[in-house]
Symmetry: C3
Subunit: 251 residues, 3 copies
């Protein structure tokens, strides 16, 4: 902190087990990544290279190096895993992970129909190589799952070897956990939290109202994902109760 | 591509006649332009300096040089043409084109009332100096044209010497081709495509839902315009069927 | 201007008393600040480091230096004042102002309940050290004030020593002066202008439709605030009647 302000909620520090922030890079240049790290390194635990952007973004190795040197773990979006699986190229996916020396990988089934047993097998296989983050929830707004279904999938994925679960929202924050309007499906969230330890979940919350909701519900050290890099300082002030929206949460 | 993924739709390569992407720069610094080109050069055919921003943006020559060296054609928005014409300064407009050694120019009548014959005369005159892109459609949401009108204007402008037609949407994607909600006027698009070769049209499509619509309708190599520079990698993955929205279009 | 276009409304020049633009920086890196100043220095009078971001943004001194060298006055958002006051740390706030050699400070009560007399005392006290900008209006959408109330608060704050008044909108442009939809509360604006000289007010207007509204109402040289840095060139063209939205205002 640049100066002293009393009674600020204690934030966890790196390497964090809780209070994680996962930010989405959807096509930064190397210098843009460096600018983001200049302000965000202390507050960013993971940088997800959104969906399949890692396939085509230039200077990928250099960008990964920028994030690593700043102490943020880069990994590739779950849609990349799906793109390999749907093409029967899972072994090539493993080679990509090896080529880029990734320590984390995301497994999802938001865009493909993957029998859940098979998804869990992929989780178990990948967990031998990297730390696995698995995503629950469809990117398709018409496929609404009942809470008990979310919970049983989550439990099975943890058992299969997932380190953390990501609750789907997309970049736009209007599917999965959220209604099309971006509003939180509160009943769903309550039921999940009744069965799964909140530390195990990274809530995708791209919109400010969604971040505020989860900070209010769980506290400054909730795990949040799909954060816009330009909002990393803003999010941190929101977590600390230093923005209009959360001003009275911690005092 | 950074690694091998099978069965990706074949994208055209530069210099493209089809599958064009026109991106809008609404006031980048020289370094921001360079960052954009680092990631987007291969995917960007044209950079439009939005509306009249070329008049006041500092270091204009340097920025144009950045785009040219990266192999993207810069040009000035059609509103600049209109600003000169409404002031009876068309000859000064020609001098601006010459001063900045532009190879492309956009002619539009989105903000002024210009008799269509006169617009076509301007197209013919300009076509002697540069490659002309002409824009059809008003920026005014209350001026909705019937499809037959769009088609007859488009045909006349091609005949007058336009190389490509731009279908208006504004930066915000809520006029011309689109309803105020941003939804595509599908009947209009169908009728246009029945009469005008799709290769001749650059569809302004600033919103993701609009890009997805045209990629679904016409394919990976549809011409798209008014793309946000920050979305250039995202758009390319969308074209290639590698994003949730288009995941099943090409497999 | 890069070339000659006739009949453009005369914009005031720095140091401006009128036609002020206040831009919001919500967490730029030093280089991002420099990029912003490369294009925006001539058009930007004030840079507000949004709400409490000054507390945690890295390299704060360097960033302030970038803005100062470019001739834009940096200052800290009013929420920072409130964060100190609510913790009974006003003296520490004075020390922060001194430490960073700030020449301007914003006083607000958007997030805390502060008796108005007390707010005016803070204005008077601060005015001995810096030029005070005070903000009127709540960040809470449910607290809608009648126009006479806005006016009486504004008059009292000017009397207490405020140099300019800011009319609240938040970063999102949907409270205070605006309905939840972002629409201007026109009756409110009219009544304020009937009693308070428009030169004394900086209208927070983050959305384009709001900027267009005030430019139409008051002219090219209206004072506008909470502008997105990426829109600084766009705003200037809008002020000059060189964008579709304002094309016919000054010709």
């Amino acid at each position: 902190m640049n100066f002293q302000l009393n009674n600020i909620p204690q934030r966890t520090e790196k390497p964090r087990e809780n209070g994680l922030t996962m930010v989405m890079d959807k096509g930064f240049s190397v210098r843009q990544a460096a600018d983001f790290m200049e302000v965000g390194a202390a507050y960013t635990d993971f940088v997800k290279l959104g969906w399949t952007t890692a396939l085509i973004v230039p200077k990928l190795e250099e960008k990964l190096a920028v994030y690593r040197e700043a102490g943020a773990h880069p990994y590739f979006g779950g849609t990349l895993f799906e793109a390999f699986v749907v093409r029967d190229q899972f072994d090539d996916f493993l080679r990509v992970i090896e080529k880029y020396r990734l320590e984390y990988a995301e497994i999802s089934d938001g865009s493909i129909a993957l029998p859940h047993e098979e998804k869990c097998e992929y989780i178990a296989k990948l967990a031998q190589h990297v730390t696995v983050i698995s995503e629950v929830g469809s990117k398709d707004n018409t496929k609404i799952m009942a809470p008990y279904k979310w919970i049983s999938l989550m439990k099975a994925e943890l058992e299969a070897g997932s380190w953390r679960l990501i609750a789907e929202s997309r970049e736009s924050g209007n599917v999965g956990l959220y209604r099309e309007s971006g509003e939180v499906r509160q009943g769903l969230v309550d039921e999940i939290l009744n069965e799964i330890p909140n530390e195990k979940i990274i809530w995708e919350a791209p919109l400010k109202s969604q971040q505020v909701y989860f900070i209010h519900l769980i506290g400054a050290n909730v795990n949040l994902g799909n954060i816009n890099p330009a909002e990393i300082i803003a999010l941190e002030t929101t977590r600390m109760g230093l923005r209009g929206d959360t001003f009275h949460y911690f005092i």
